[in-house]
């Protein structure tokens, strides 16, 4: 995705977020949707500001380009994603067992399915990447 395509995408997300917030304020939608809209508008707004700075500040653009391609930064980001995945699977699995013991069978089953799907997703990704590399 090019920088201008990204900017367009974030502008669309920002607009959708603002519309959801406005519809929430006018009470056409519930707090769930206006909350989601607020989050969407906030994140997309920050990205739009970053995109604006990228186009107007060459020093910032260079810094951002280096940050995106810097191998240590990529290594750290991958490590963080790896750790987050491992911890979240473990937490969800433990939570599933605890909820099952407390009698919340439906929620426990849903969490167990999510853990299973994540684990399966990992193995499928592993097999696909093994063939690629």
């Amino acid at each position: 995705m090019t920088q201008s395509q990204k900017t367009l995408w974030y502008a669309v997300l920002f607009a959708v977020g603002v519309v959801l917030v406005v519809l929430g304020i006018l009470e056409y939608l519930g707090p769930y949707w206006s909350g989601l809209g607020g989050t969407l508008a906030g994140v997309a707004g920050i990205r739009l500001i970053q995109a604006w700075r990228y186009h107007n500040d060459p020093a910032y653009a260079k810094k951002l380009d280096t940050a995106h391609t810097d191998e240590r930064n990529v290594f750290v980001a991958n490590k963080a994603a790896d750790l987050t995945f491992r911890v979240s699977v473990l937490v969800l699995a433990v939570l599933s067992v605890v909820l099952r013991a407390l009698g919340h069978t439906d929620t426990a089953s849903t969490l167990a399915i999510v853990v299973g799907a994540q684990t399966l997703g990992y193995f499928v990704s592993y097999l696909a990447l093994s063939r690629k590399y």
Binding site: T66, A67, T69, D70, E71, R72, N73, F75
Partner: protein, 66 residues
């Protein structure tokens, strides 16, 4: 893995930022390399060694137990 980056940088009168710009990484990466906290890819090791006109083995010091 130890390395001689700080020493070579000093010899060539390069700042961490200058070396970082020349090999296309952030200054933080150079700092981590010099402190031995991060091991570079073979490509980055090659770029750094080439910048000083040396081979990878002259800059990065491998140890037996690694």
């Amino acid at each position: 893995m130890n390395n001689r980056i700080a020493e070579l940088r000093d010899d060539h009168q390069l700042t961490q930022q200058m070396l970082a710009d020349e090999v296309g990484v952030s200054r933080q990466t150079i700092i981590s390399l010099e402190r031995g906290k991060y091991n570079p890819s073979i490509l980055l090791a090659h770029k750094i060694a080439a910048r000083f006109g040396l081979s990878i083995e002259d800059v990065f010091l491998f140890e037996e137990d690694e």
